[in-house]
């Protein structure tokens, strides 16, 4: 856990004071609706369908139990005693009162938290691998680099009014668990032949209405130049990114319109002026930041415990427990995907209970994943069975990590003012349809993601199966894509965007359609090791289409029959 120093704390306190004054001026009629909108958004405050929504930053998803207990307390005191973990590793409160938001921010500041730049046309929360610092395939501890980026991007005076929001992800491991290719800027840590640390830099990836995979604009950026290079990218974007059309304002559109090579040339030309300037990072700073992170005091423990043979435990251990770089330890995912509970939702009571678990089993820290689960990253293997019993009693041990029912979903039409359609009931209907664990495990790894509109907060473009809520003459319909992939979590299958299989469906049809897609997959896979997404890439979309809609002849005859009847 990064611990604030006096200046970090002072800046957060000053932000609370500033926002309190902005809220006061708005309520007194001295600030227009439009202007307060721009100011409150960069403090994570939306006005939603039924109430305001406050998005609290959890920088790179890392959270202490002191902070989690405070979130629980805030949710009880100012909201309806629950919160929603989002795909940006943040926590959203769905029912706060606008006039109480300054008080909420003041409470957050007491535990080194805030809502700075969690929305608006600003540089957003930096995200990373939820196994940072503990992964066996680690190249660097990405938390350190995320914190450096967090500080650099906080209240950056030049980039406080960007054309549009800006999302940044860092991956510090060999596998990409941070989906860096679908961010405005994504970094992959690399080591060169001399074992020096640097970053592969991707620009212009993103989801939303124009999904794009990021372009590599630099294969190896030595770490010293990280901030000056990012500054060059942001300056080119700030000056030339489109501001005439909100749907074309993301950096990906600039990269696309310019062409990646020309865009890279512009960045390099700008960087030529900034390179080796005052923003060049120094080793003392990296060490200072590293030194402000608390580190688990690992014990020397047996790395080969005997696990009890209890029904259910094995399945959970196989799915929800990940390997750890320290012998005898493991990383445990607490699932927030229990059927019947909106994905990512946790009650205050659960938050308190999770904090207790993290204190007892994982050095008082936890991580939020972009798949909307929580991770206890430093659990002794010998404690796994006990932890499993406790987590199960709390409804947090659904053994479905990586499986079809570990659904990513945005809050959708139940809460969000932007949504075309609801997400949560669709997720639940699919979870109910696939509630047989043996069957689920047989289907194997499958990411199913749902967004309630084309803003794609549910990351549907990079789900192996992606579901998008669309509006058809005022009715909720669902379009289905297959073949998306969030990133290279397995060698050889990089990030890709899904392809739409055809016309959309009514909500009640969705579970049937998913089942037909699964049937097709099970029939076509060459072995259990070949995942759904691998099959889609091997044989293409057409066989799946046929399974869902009938083959081309059947479709044509049905079409003419329907026309004849019309």
């Amino acid at each position: 856990m990064y611990t604030y120093d006096e200046i970090d704390q002072r800046l957060v306190d000053e932000r609370v004071r500033q926002f309190r004054d902005q809220t006061r001026r708005f309520l007194a009629g001295q600030l227009s609706e439009e202007e307060f909108r721009a100011l409150r958004l960069r403090n994570g405050l939306y006005i939603q369908r039924y109430a305001p929504m406050l998005r609290i930053a959890i920088p790179y998803g890392l959270l202490s139990t002191v902070q989690l207990r405070k979130l629980s307390e805030i949710a009880r005191k100012y909201d309806r005693a629950y919160g929603h973990f989002s795909t940006r590793q943040n926590l959203q409160l769905n029912w706060p009162k606008l006039e109480q938001v300054p008080d909420i921010l003041a409470e957050l500041a007491t535990v080194q938290m805030h809502a700075i730049q969690t929305s608006g046309n600003s540089f957003r929360n930096v995200t990373t691998d939820h196994l940072a610092g503990v992964a066996q395939d680690e190249i660097v501890d990405s938390f350190v680099w995320c914190e450096i980026i967090r500080q650099w991007s906080t209240f950056h005076p030049e980039f406080s009014y960007l054309p549009r929001k800006f999302k940044f992800a860092v991956n510090g491991a060999k596998s990409d668990r941070a989906a860096v290719a679908v961010h405005d800027i994504g970094l992959h840590a690399v080591r060169n032949a001399e074992n020096e640390i640097g970053f592969k830099v991707l620009v212009g990836g993103g989801l939303g209405r124009t999904p794009m995979i990021g372009f590599v604009i630099r294969e190896f950026l030595p770490w010293q130049h990280l901030l000056s290079y990012v500054e060059a990218i942001l300056r080119v974007y700030n000056r030339y990114g489109r501001r005439d059309n909100i749907h074309k304002a993301r950096i990906k559109i600039l990269v696309k319109e310019r062409g990646p090579e020309k865009f890279r040339d512009e960045v390099e030309a700008e960087w030529a002026h900034l390179k080796d300037g005052p923003s060049t990072l120094i080793r003392e700073e990296i060490e200072r930041i590293e030194g402000r992170f608390t580190r688990p005091q690992y014990e020397k423990v047996s790395s080969d415990p005997v696990f009890p043979s209890v029904p259910g435990f094995d399945a959970w251990r196989k799915r929800n427990v990940q390997a750890h770089k320290v012998p005898g330890y493991a990383a445990v995912t607490l699932s927030l995907k229990k059927t019947g509970v909106p994905p990512g939702d946790v009650t205050s009571d659960q938050m308190d209970a999770i904090a207790d678990l993290a204190d007892r089993y994982s050095f008082g820290e936890l991580r939020v994943t972009h798949e909307q689960n929580l991770v206890l990253a430093d659990v002794r293997q010998s404690d796994l069975a006990e932890l499993w019993r406790e987590a199960r009693a709390l409804g947090l041990a659904t053994p479905n990590l990586g499986l079809l029912t570990n659904i990513i979903a945005c809050p959708g039409g139940d809460f969000c003012a932007l949504a075309n359609a609801k997400s949560i009931p669709v997720a639940e209907a699919i979870q109910r349809r696939f509630d047989d664990l043996d069957y689920l495990h047989d289907i194997g790894e499958l990411d199913l993601n749902i967004s309630g509109c084309m803003n794609a907060c549910g990351h549907h473009h990079v789900g192996h199966i992606g579901i998008l809520g669309v509006d058809k003459n005022g009715e909720e319909w669902y379009q289905i894509e297959i073949g998306g992939n969030q990133g290279e979590t397995r060698p050889g299958r990089g990030a890709s965007l899904g392809k739409v299989i055809g016309p959309s469906f009514a909500r009640a049809q969705v579970p049937d359609v998913i089942e037909r897609l699964i049937d097709c997959y099970l029939e076509k896979r060459d072995s259990e090791a070949e995942r759904f997404v691998d099959v889609v890439h091997r044989i293409g979309v057409e066989p799946f289409k046929e399974q869902v809609y009938g083959n081309a002849d059947q479709r044509a005859s049905r079409h003419s029959r329907e026309r004849a009847l019309a």
Binding site: L11, E35, P157, E158, Y161, I282
Partner: protein, 133 residues
Amino acid sequence: MATLIKGRRVIVESAPSPEAKVVRLEPHDDPASIAGRLAKLERVEVNFPKFGDGRGYSIARLLRERYGYRGELRAVGQVGRDQLYYLESCGFDAFLLRDGEDPEEALAAFNDFSESYQASVARPMPLFRRRAK
């Protein structure tokens, strides 16, 4: 009557002399286009047609840091108190506030934050270099 703040003080500006050497840049203008004659200018104005248009911040830094402009750099247009801290950090030293802004409140806004992490015109060394000393 719009308020002018200069050197963190509210001032009353005398009528400009007709031969005053002033250039106004719009957000899409390239500051490089006036780089050659900056030494002869009394004032450069950068227009903010909209509160949320952030291009002027980059223009200011370029004028100060890349082209070495030392004269008055004035933010005009939709300039309100909530932008002042950032504008000053980027090198503006004069601010023509839009109508309806309270001058006293505006002056207080320069102290919204007491530190910043980044290198800027106001603080040429980023915080980590100042800390390392």
